[in-house]
Symmetry: C2
């Protein structure tokens, strides 16, 4: 089947990430989508600039109008940001019957109602998963995954810069201005940080979340918006003493008499999962009447996490264009003729760390014996915990945390250790997962 | 447009929940799906039994074959569980060109390859979101939301019973057998708990997750499976001392030489979000090469959470049957002509709790004055924290945490409090969100 031709408006951070992800995972993506996805054209302001991605095979130009007018292009990906030129280009692409994928939250929050009407009239798709929560597929989860629920509220950490600053203020007891400056040096905050720290970016995203959660029109101008500049490190410390964390939240809540739409810093009880989402990470909590609370966590910004959502939208478009509508999404994610039969490894081949529990006679030399066996098999020790024998008991309990190794080696070590007369019971073994 | 007719196989916990959710949210669901979804027939073993749901308007019978053969039914929802009768009925429904929605993890893990082939041949849909993670839309998130990624690993707490038991063992320092008995009395564990605590249920789910993550066939028989019966409360305590929690995980990991598929208890560093998922809740972490780690959290079982996923699948089926394929999922989740214009409330109407910071002259009576103002406006106080004045300072800092109230009342209180000569600076105010 013919590849789908994609034109990219913008080759900055997210544009570069999109080129890289589509190139690196080309086979995997084609196995899922049923067709290859090929970036044929890209528009960039500065053609001479060095790029973070390899643009071999992509026709570069500085004329965005020519790209949206080009009849060879099936899908336009809009990544230039802002809302006036972006709107003009997206509307023109739709007029030319092209599908559109965009990561532009301001565009959707402010002009979405008009853009969607045009798309409906022209029978094309407009997808915008990357506009909220970066790589977290929160639009899909609410629009489709929670379609059976009356959604009661949505609350999210939806601006990574603000969350990074609040986390650093708490971790180091430092003040806002101080941390902001550092975040700018590290590239986590823009030179003009107002969009992020004043909550405008979060308000764009909240506008979109509220619309899809409650079935109301997009209405950015009605969001109450407050930033984090007035939070002090003392506020954070006192909140801590009371058992709370301060996070910058976007909240949309349905009440009998209407909808609350608000972006502001908030204390959250520290035992809530979302209170422990730190650094640049995002998380959105959605409460549905049937499902109860659900949470979606991941990287809310950055080149490849955002590209992950852009490419997911492209796969959605391609699946809709290509596949038997009754089997639009393959049952097992990949096309039935594109499954691969990777070997499933035996337990002996597992690689992980181990938490070992030994009951040993309380006499010198036992620990040396055990660590010698581990050493010979090149199993490194992360930590040892020796428990005092209880009164009258003649054995001690020793806990050993190993570093990552192979299960085969652990099996060998334990069978040897258990032969020792000093070890009075089978060694307990629980695997350790770092999930990193 | 004509409603879609659904036949329900099974009226137990999840069946009852599905009837209730479809009835309660009928309008909201029709606004999303573009058509009404109506349960016309249901099959139950015992027709005389009292039910948790209102079955008015549903034709009940005890003959499942008649239901899957009935030409009036468009979609069959299979909720009887088990794998032999369920398989026979699902295959027969597919042969009759009916779409199928199922919550049956054993059925999909063991017979999925065969069922999907049949569905593809007959051009019908088979949807199974409820089979993994209950109300968490993890199948959709991996198959569609992460479609741009090479998925490196999936690790999840995917059995609520085991997680409930491990959480209770940790919270109360009690042993497995003891907690299991209590879980059985509370209905969190079956009379025969082996499916849950020996990891078989988790292995079914992991089989499905691994297939959709890596594009490999379903192969339940190759999952390494270990339950939680051998974990002691001492293991949990020592793991705690080392900074770890013990969770029962399903792990699928892609390596150069193959795939690890394993279900077993594991220590996880306590700072990981997933280590703090307690009680009957489920959470799945997915690591993609572009997006990095993402986490999906929610209720993994229970009548309405599972029904939430069943209904989401029904909406998916109805959208595919009904709508312009280019706008299968409405941009704003609800059909464009079904948006409602709920009023967006002004900030004065917000209802939440408040964290107030007062700088007051250090003399008796100030606190009484402040609490009197709050009392008159019926603003209740949750906690007060008074900080010692620093050496030489003449003011003290007082932190007041209020209970939930209306923003209008807080504004009124603060304007009155700020008039007092004892209060030397504007009162600081941060909202508090309990997210419950």
């Amino acid at each position: 089947m013919e590849p789908v031709n994609v034109g990219l408006l913008g080759l900055g951070t997210v544009g570069g990430g999109t080129v890289n992800v589509l190139a690196r995972n080309a086979d995997e993506i084609a196995r899922r989508a049923g067709r290859r996805i090929r970036i044929t054209h890209a528009v960039t302001r500065d053609l001479s600039q060095n790029r973070l991605c390899d643009t071999t095979g992509i026709r570069l130009s500085s004329d965005p109008y020519a790209l949206v007018d080009n009849p060879e292009i099936d899908v336009v990906v809009e990544l230039i940001g802002g809302e006036s030129l972006a709107k003009e280009l997206v509307m023109r692409a739709i007029d030319h019957h092209k599908h559109v994928v965009t990561a532009n939250k301001a565009l959707i929050a402010i002009h979405g109602n008009e853009i969607f009407r045009a798309a409906q009239e022209q029978g094309v798709m407009v997808a915008f998963e990357a506009a909220v929560g970066g790589g977290i597929s929160i639009i899909k989860s609410i629009r489709e995954g929670l379609a059976g629920n009356r959604i009661e509220w949505v609350a999210g950490i939806i601006n990574g810069t603000s969350n990074y600053i609040l986390t650093a203020m708490r971790d180091h007891g430092r003040d806002f201005a101080d941390v902001l400056k550092e975040a700018q040096q590290l590239g986590y905050a823009e030179a003009d940080p107002s969009f992020d720290v004043e909550g405008i970016d979060a308000a764009h995203k909240l506008t979109i979340l509220a619309a899809i959660a409650f079935g109301i029109p997009l209405q950015f101008d009605k969001v109450y918006t407050e930033g984090i500049a007035r939070i002090s490190s003392l506020d954070i410390r006192y909140a801590d003493e009371l058992g709370y964390r301060i996070k910058h939240l976007g909240i949309a809540k349905r009440r009998e008499d209407g909808v609350e739409l608000r972006v502001h810093p908030a204390l959250i009880p520290e035992r809530r999962l979302v209170a422990n989402v730190d650094g640049v990470m995002n998380a959105i909590v959605v409460k549905g009447d049937a499902v109860g609370p659900t949470l979606y966590y991941g990287a809310g910004a950055g080149a490849e996490p955002t590209a992950s959502a852009v490419v997911a939208d492209l796969v959605d478009v391609v699946r809709a264009l290509t596949i038997d509508p009754n089997n639009r999404v393959p049952h097992l994610a990949f096309q039935p003729d594109a499954l691969t039969d990777l070997p499933i490894l035996p337990a002996e081949a597992f690689r992980t760390a181990y938490f070992l529990t030994l009951d040993a006679v309380d006499r010198p030399g036992v620990l040396a014996e055990v660590t010698r066996v581990l050493g010979v098999l090149e199993i490194s020790i992360e930590a040892i915990l020796q428990k005092e024998p209880s009164a009258g008991a003649e054995t001690v309990r020793v806990i050993i945390l190993t570093q990552r190794t192979e299960e085969r080696l652990i099996n060998q070590a334990l069978s040897e250790i258990e032969k020792s007369p000093s070890i009075v019971a089978p060694v307990g073994r629980i695997r350790v997962e770092y999930l990193d």
